[in-house]
Amino acid sequence: MAQHSPRPAAALGTGLASALMILTGVLGITQGIAAIANDDVYSVVGKYAFKLDVSTWGWIHLAVGALVLLTGFALFTGSILARAIGVLLAGAVLIVNFLDLPYEPYWSVIMIALNLFVIWSLFHDVGPDAA
């Protein structure tokens, strides 16, 4: 549709994915900060195959969250590479949240749903700027 109109905002073709990744990046970072601070909102988990120190999970969330945030901004350039990295990162965040779900189930459930949506949006150009 509308191949004729010049669109300065053509790079926003993945606008939804960008917005969602920036959002999940920020959420992951806050999730990480809360864990690194060893907060009481995290439940105490007994024996668990993927048991890590809550601080360790926190650093993982923080680091991956920062990468997701950066990738979200990189998506504005319309780069295919950024999209591929976005899919990989969103998949990684999803798995990390699945593994550490026993510590804060609600946050993990939200993050899993959001990242599924991110992956979906990376494969679909939604909206006015879809080129």
Binding site: H4, S5, L16, T30, I33, I36, I110, L114, V126
Partner: protein, 170 residues
């Protein structure tokens, strides 16, 4: 590859609210309603469905936030006691945050109804803020936060699924 296959706005299959709008505009260039204020440039009226959806859900989300805020400010036993927490605030403080963001969302939702592009961009940012605030306040009342986050995500999707007004459909 996704570029070539994904030119259908509003993502056809995966859009409960946008589905009716995706079929309409491409075929019916001539709208019986002509070009009113709701259509920037003689678009089909269906093109505004996406805006209306986003606006209505934003207003609802705003009201939900306001209610959440009032409940927090009034103080009550519906909020869990939270121990050590990096983002610990008084329940009243969270209440004010919810209330203010809720009011802004309500106003932005009304602005989105006007169809301006800046209003949509502002709406995306505000809705994002609302989601972050609810994520942080989640330990106090998880289910409210989950509902508010779900609504917010739906709003963002709807805002990006709006067909552009400047687009010429010929």
């Amino acid at each position: 590859m996704a570029d070539s296959e994904g030119p259908t706005p509003a993502g056809g299959s995966a859009s409960p609210g946008g589905a009716p709008s995706s079929g309409g505009p491409s075929h019916s260039g001539e709208s019986p309603f002509g070009g009113g204020w709701w259509t920037g440039s003689g678009d089909s009226i269906w093109a505004s469905t996406g805006v209306n959806l986003a606006a209505v859900i934003m207003v609802i989300t705003g009201i939900a936030g306001i209610v959440e805020g009032i409940a927090g400010i009034a103080g009550g036993d519906v909020f869990a006691k939270v121990g050590k927490y990096a983002f610990k605030l008084d329940v009243t403080a969270w209440g004010w945050i919810h209330l203010i963001i809720g009011i802004l969302l309500l106003l932005a939702g009304i602005a989105v109804y006007g169809g301006a592009r800046w209003a949509r961009m502002l709406a995306v940012v505000l809705t994002g803020l609302s989601i972050v605030a609810n994520f942080l306040a989640l330990p106090y009342q998880p289910l409210w936060s989950i509902v508010a986050i779900g609504l917010g995500v739906f709003v963002i999707w709807a805002l990006f699924s709006v067909p552009d007004r400047q687009e010429s459909r010929s």
